[in-house]
Structures are given as C-alpha cells and as structure tokens.
C-alpha cells in the first residue's frame, strides 16, 4: 500500500535539473519545505509500521479472531503497552495491524473519489454550457442527501466488507471534489494562458490534462489531505452500524466505536486507535500542505 510518495520522489516533482545526489536532494527539500518533509516522514512511518506489523506486533494472532478470556480489559503494562480489549486482545498489536487497513480505506476512497470527481469537475468548468449543467445537476443530486445517510444506503444494499465500504463512501465523496475543481477550472479556463494554449493549436484534451488540471488542483490537494481523517471516521461509523469492516478486523474506526462503551472506565481502548487516526490525519494534512507549496513554483520561491 503505497501511502506516501517517498521524499526522493518529491525532489523529482520539484524538477531540479541537476541530480545533486538523493540525500542532498532530500535535505534541500527538508530545509525549503519542512512541512512536506515532516508529513512525508510521518506517512513513511505508517507505511513501515504497516509492512512490519507481523514482525513488531507482540501478539500477531490478536489482530485476528484470537480471544483471551482471562486477560480482558487489562490496563497498559509491560506485556501489553496499550492494554487489552474487551475480549483480551492486545491493543498495540491491533493498532499496528490497523495501519494496514484504515489508511488504505482512506486512500482508496480518496483515489476513487478523485478519479471520478476531478475529470467531471474539470470538464464542467472548462467547457461550461450544457456540459456544465448536466454534470453539476448530477452532482447536486448526490449532494442533496446527507453524506453519511447515502453511504449507509449504499453499504446496506451491498454485503458488508471493506471493499464495499470503500465503494459506498467513495460514491458520496466524489461530488465534493467535482464541485471544488469545477469552480477552480472555470476560473482557470478564462485565464489568458489557456486562450494562448488554444491559439497554439493544443487539442482540448491536452489543454484539460496539462494546463487546466495542474492549475486547478491545489485546493483539491488540500481538501483531500484534510479528508483522510474524515474518511476513516466515516468508515468507522459504517463499521459501528455493522455495515463496514466486521469485528475481528483491526480497523481503527471499528476499534474506537467498539471501545466507546468502555471509555469511562477503560480509556486505552479508544485512546490508542484514536491517536493512530489522529496521527494519520495530521501526516496527510502536512503532506498536503507541503505538496501544495511544491506544486506552485511561486510559493517555492518565497519560502
């Protein structure tokens, strides 16, 4: 699960014409753009933990269907640094394995939402007229329902599974991106460099992909990075209602919602998976902020 572009790749994004050695490049980005460096590092941590979960988790079986009737709801100790849950499973192990699920759900939802929403929004904004009308009315229909309710409806008609959770949430998520990018694309389409691109004989499709999209993408990147936490929580709401990930699955959102019942007396059930969600959300926010700066040549300069 490729969560974060490794820092070395962001150097390529900056397009430095001379390759000054990978490490030097990373250092240069870190100095010029600390947000990006921190965000990327945090994402990297998540990826590493997800990959190494079987190795570093003290009780790998607890991520599955194992139960330990004699060790339920133990508070954090040396043996169970994050405590144990209501059926005696090690919370640390489950949080570590959760790094393989929750961020992946978020990423898949956001990738699908972007893949559907961005092309539609860009086309609506650039072409205007009836294309705009048709696309935006369809978006309005989706936006007319409360997002969670719509996701519930879609999840309810499908078999509860992680894949179906992803589909159900993505269906409610794309209209927001279509709408954000449409407004941006409409304003970009009216700028002189787009007219100039047309006067260069560049075909519409290429103008859309290479000129309108890159110039409209910034607010979407910011929004996507802010939405990572939101998607994880929405997915957990579906799980909570029995329509998403099912119990043995160590989904962070599911763990938080199951732990709620015990929160006042056994704080660790909610706190650690909650902190993992928070960490992931912050990681992506910083990454998004940093990316925005890198993608805009004017900002890179003023930093």
């Amino acid at each position: 699960m490729a969560v974060a572009p490794a820092p070395a790749e962001t150097v390529a994004l900056e397009g430095g014409s001379l390759p000054p050695g990978r490490l030097a490049g990373v250092r240069r980005v870190a100095r010029r753009n600390p947000l990006l460096a921190v965000g990327a590092s945090m994402c990297l941590v998540i990826v590493v933990l997800a990959v190494l979960a079987p190795v570093i988790a003290p009780f790998p079986d607890d991520a599955g269907s194992a139960t330990h009737a004699l060790e339920t709801l133990e508070s954090p100790s040396a043996a169970h640094p994050f405590g144990t849950d209501q059926v005696g499973r090690d919370v640390l192990s489950r949080v570590l394995y959760g790094a393989r699920i929750s961020p992946l759900i978020a990423l898949l939802v956001l990738v699908i939402a972007c893949a559907v929403g961005l092309p539609l929004g860009i086309a609506a904004g650039y072409f205007g007229g009836w294309v705009d009308d048709v696309i935006m009315r369809v978006t309005d229909v989706f936006l007319a329902f409360p997002a969670l309710l719509l996701a519930l409806a879609f999840a309810a008609v499908m078999r509860p599974s992680i894949t179906n959770t992803v589909i159900a949430i993505a269906v409610t998520w794309w209209p927001w991106y279509a709408r954000i990018v449409r407004g941006q694309a409409a304003s970009v389409a009216a700028r002189p460099y787009i007219e100039s691109a047309r006067a260069m004989g560049i075909p519409h499709r290429r103008i859309l992909l290479r000129h309108v999209l890159p110039n409209s993408i910034t607010p979407v990147i910011v929004q996507v990075s802010l939405d990572v936490g939101g998607v994880i929580l929405t997915a957990s709401a579906l799980s909570f209602l029995g329509l998403g990930a099912q119990d043995p699955t160590p989904d962070w959102g599911l763990m938080v919602s199951q732990g709620q019942a015990f929160f006042t007396t056994h704080w660790w059930l909610v706190t650690f998976p909650g902190a993992a969600i928070l960490f992931t959300a912050v990681a992506f926010n910083l990454l998004g902020d940093g990316l925005r700066d890198v993608l805009d040549p004017r900002r890179v300069l003023t930093r």
Binding site: S17, Y193, A199, G201, I202, R298
Partner: protein
C-alpha cells in the same frame, strides 16, 4: 473598403495571393452582429494595423483568424484565407496544426499568457514537439529563436513569474519564430508594457518582418504605436472597417470622420491636422 490599392509585394513575398485575405467576414453572437468586415488583406512580409477603440471588434477578428471565435459561442461566416487556403469551416484538426504553426498569436498581458506552472524551456519544448519538431531539433530551434529576440538561454529554466513583461513578450515572439509561423497576430502586444520596452518590442517586430519575412496583423487602439510600425492601417468602428490605407496617408489625411476623431484623440500625431 474604399478601394485602396494593395502596395507592391515586399521582397519576402512569393505569390500574388496575400498571406491573409479576409472577405465579407461576419461574426455574430446570436442575433447581435459584432464584426462585419468587407475586406482586409495582409501581404507577405507586411505589417497591417487594425485600429479601433475597445469593443470595436478588433480582438474578435483576431480570434476569427485563428478560428477560435466559435469557442466563445460566436457564429462566423464569410471567408478567411491563409495563403489561399480557406480557414472558415476548415476541419478542427487542420486548424490545430495551423494555429501556433502557420499562424502565431501574441497577447496583451505577456506574463499571464504563459502557463505559470511551466518553465519557459518546457513551453518551447512542448510547442515545438506538438508542431512536429523532432526531439533533437527542438532545442536547436529554441536556441536560435532566443538569439533572434536577444534573450539569454538562461531564461529557459525560469518560470513565467520570474520574467519581466518585456521578456515574456519576447518569449512569445521567439515561440512564433521557433515555430516558423508565417503570420503573427498581435493583439495589443505592447499595451501592457512601459514605453521603453514597448519601443524594443516594436523594433523586434520590424526585424522579424525584415529577417523572417513574417506577416503581422497588429491590433491596437494606440495610433501612435501604429504610426511607427504599420505599413497599412485598417480602422474599425463598431465591427466595421471604415477606412483602410497606407499608414502615413490615413493618419495625415483621414478619409473617415471616425478616423479623424481617433487621430485627434492622440497627442502629437498627424502633424497638427487634427480638426476640431
């Protein structure tokens, strides 16, 4: 319009057919007609000015020459011929190769006419590759064009916001050179520049005509600038060409009342003939 004879072709001319021949051009938005031009010619290597105040249809005419007026929802009819080839109603694929290839356009705000996310070098690379230059050929033609407009090759690694207005306009002109365009449509190319830079760009356009034999359709509201640059001037008022003629004659002895008023509005032009 008033039967002014086309001047003898300049040395760059190869055929009797003018480089650009506009006949009975009518552009309308729905029922509202914004341009109605009977005849405008641009000979090979000739610089023709299209003068008029804002809203007179100059820029619409420029867009029509590139067959882009329809993208704004306008209906175009009549005839626009580029070296004999009819452009009105030409298939879009054909027009795409003509735009940027045989006809280049430069704009009023040179910096904002360049995509802010691309380096100047990328702009050249993409434009040249789009119009059929090979990977090896593109850098050579770019370098030659930059030399022609007296820009340093260092500029290739800059983003548009790192260019001055004059540099950006030179880049746009260099692009036309690199693409070996035959006709340059210049829509108020100097209006956003300060006077000294303006003079440099005009000088550059003149040299372009001399050295590359490029024809120029120069659109402006500024008669003082046109007096310096253009061989002939067509004056537009509310979509119609009310007067065409050699620059000196039009400015010294305007044949139409509207031209007279335009000339009178410009300080120190027309050798004091401005009537009241």
């Amino acid at each position: 319009m008033n039967g002014e004879p086309t001047p003898a072709p300049r040395p760059g001319a190869t055929s009797a057919e003018p480089k650009l021949a506009v006949r009975d051009l009518r552009i309308a938005f729905g029922a509202r007609r914004v341009v109605d031009i009977e005849r405008v010619d641009v000979g090979a290597g000739e610089i023709v000015g299209l003068a008029g105040e804002s809203g007179s249809g100059k820029s619409m005419t420029a867009l029509a020459v590139l067959c882009l007026a329809s993208t704004l929802g306008a209906s175009v009819d009549g005839s626009i011929r580029l070296a004999g080839e009819e452009l009105v109603g030409a298939p879009e694929s054909r027009m795409r190769s003509i735009r940027g290839g045989r006809i280049a356009m430069i704009f009023q705000s040179p910096v904002s006419a360049l995509d802010p996310l691309l380096r100047v070098g990328d702009l050249f690379e993409r434009a040249l590759r789009l119009h059929g230059a090979s990977r090896r050929e593109a850098p050579e033609r770019t370098a030659a064009a930059l030399r022609e407009v007296l820009l340093s090759p260092d500029l290739l690694s800059r983003h548009p916001h790192e260019l001055s207005g004059g540099q950006a306009q030179r880049v746009a002109i260099a692009m036309a050179l690199a693409l070996r365009s035959e006709l340059l449509v210049a829509d108020e190319p100097t209006s956003a520049l300060d006077v000294t830079v303006q003079a440099e760009i005009l000088d550059l356009l003149r040299r372009l005509r001399e050295d590359a034999g490029m024809s120029v359709l120069f659109i402006s509201h500024d008669l003082a600038v046109m007096a310096e640059l253009c061989d002939r001037i067509a004056v537009m008022e509310r979509g119609r060409v009310v007067e065409v003629g050699p620059t000196a004659r039009v400015l010294a002895r305007p044949g139409h009342d509207y031209t007279r008023r335009l000339v009178a509005a410009v300080p120190k032009i027309g050798a004091g003939t401005a009537p009241r």
